[in-house]
Symmetry: C2
Subunit: 69 residues, 2 copies
């Protein structure tokens, strides 16, 4: 799925911009520690509930995950 | 979840703008016929794979589902 790739790339970029590891981001978002890795490897289709939690920790609008360069 | 409400409202608005019933949209997107109703009633957290399919039928960018008035 193409959108998975877009979300994966943006998630990694935004997470690294905050200086967070996958595990640190998951802990702060109160989600499973494996989940961030699954999304960044495009192995799982994120739900909007999860994107909302991640966006709050990363301090971005949820639409930022869909940004295409 | 607040983002569910945003997605629900946008999905309904974009679907009606195309003159499609929930069932017609589901059929065209090749997804379960109950799924659109579940999203519009905020009973299910959409996945990005589903939002991608719906966005293609509705001819909008996926970020359109996250638009806040």
């Amino acid at each position: 799925m193409r959108l998975r790739g877009v979300v994966a790339r943006n998630l990694r970029r935004l997470r690294q911009a905050k200086g967070l590891s996958q595990e640190e981001l998951a802990d702060r978002a109160d989600i499973n520690r494996n989940y961030v890795g699954l999304l960044e490897r495009e192995e799982h289709a994120a739900t909007i509930d999860m994107l909302e939690k991640l966006s709050e920790v990363l301090e971005v609008e949820p639409a930022a995950f869909f940004a295409r360069d």
